[in-house]
Symmetry: C2
Subunit: 219 residues, 2 copies
Amino acid sequence: MADPRTTTPRERYRSQVRAEIKERAWEQIAAAGASALSLNAIAKQMGMSGPALYRYFAGRDDLITELIRDAYRSLADAFAAAARAEPGLFGLAHTLRRWALEDPQRYFLVYGTPVPGYHAPDDVTGIAREIMAALLDACAEQPAGAPAGSTASALDEHLAAHREWAGGHSAPAAALSRALTVWTRLHGVLSLELAGHFTGMGFDPAVLFAAELESVRSL
Amino acid sequence: MADPRTTTPRERYRSQVRAEIKERAWEQIAAAGASALSLNAIAKQMGMSGPALYRYFAGRDDLITELIRDAYRSLADAFAAAARAEPGLFGLAHTLRRWALEDPQRYFLVYGTPVPGYHAPDDVTGIAREIMAALLDACAEQPAGAPAGSTASALDEHLAAHREWAGGHSAPAAALSRALTVWTRLHGVLSLELAGHFTGMGFDPAVLFAAELESVRSL
DNA sequence: TGTACATCAGTGAACGCGCGTTCACTGATGTAC
DNA sequence: TGTACATCAGTGAACGCGCGTTCACTGATGTAC
């Protein structure tokens, strides 16, 4: 991570403990959901007293905010790595699926039920834009699959007229709607799968995921 | 609701108070999320003492379970009414959208982030099947839009081979995949919209929803 | 119509709990001369 | 290399809070004769 030359032993120790606190936090979230996260419980699990954690985080909200930021960051990084290794929408989609299955609660912290009062800090919207940009890149790259002048244009036109959200990305109008569509379709499958709404239904969610990914090729 | 002839005043009063407790519960959930639901807070808001609520619900978990059941029930009823008034997928889809926007937290209680330990009671899976059946009805009714022998068959075949989840519904294979697909696609748009992931993006989520609904016509 | 009894809604006190957070303090680690 | 000081991790006690839940009780409402 940081250059060990400009890093004192104390600083190294600090960031090590901070990392362990976060690890235990994720374990707790995985076990009982984000709302059950408790500083005291984390401290106890680490063999420390509760107040000790205040050396590392300003409070519970501060910790949660950092976990959310880390979750966004890790998805953005995974996308960036995937784009480097295997450009295109397929690589991105399967990276997303792997990332989601790896830790469902992390996925839900990003895309799940929002807590009514809570507002994410400003910098995560920047990371969200990074994620969207990776998706737009992948969609712009792929040639349009639909025959010219097909019926899909209602959404295309609307999005072309409201393309501020693309953050100045130079993607053509068709790519805008393809990116948005693949995002919502894959999220639809993933979130229902992770929430367990397919369990006991007998079919393989991966097949559905693949079909949805395939579906945007002809968009 | 119940026949007033076989209903004593006490019973009427009871169900009235029970209903008000649930109302306040929904208000609390809307204000601070389901995890913040507190019996004492509800009681205080109703001008009662906390323990009084134990006359009406066995405890907090019992209340939440009933709220979840009611949420499923209300969606199933809305679907049934829609199917009667205006058969077809369009009516169902817009009923779903209306139902979701009417109370986002209710939507999330059904389709949102699951609490790791929690298991819904058996009877809600029955209601979930009702909801799915309504969707299957609507999808079976509509003639297949795709040209015969198109490429969509990978999912069709897989679902036809694992059609237990349809609960003995007589829908053709194409209708199975259409139902599943429209479910996940609409959920994808709705859940991201309700979670606020489109706010500040400038475009109208309703247009995206309509495009996704339209997309399954050619399936 | 009136009396005796049963039912049941709601209260107030109490229990134990775990939470987030503050504060004054100890003891170890690093820094400056 | 050794001493004096500053930094900082971690402790333990304490505060106030709201939670779910139990219990014995009061008082009103309904029921049976």
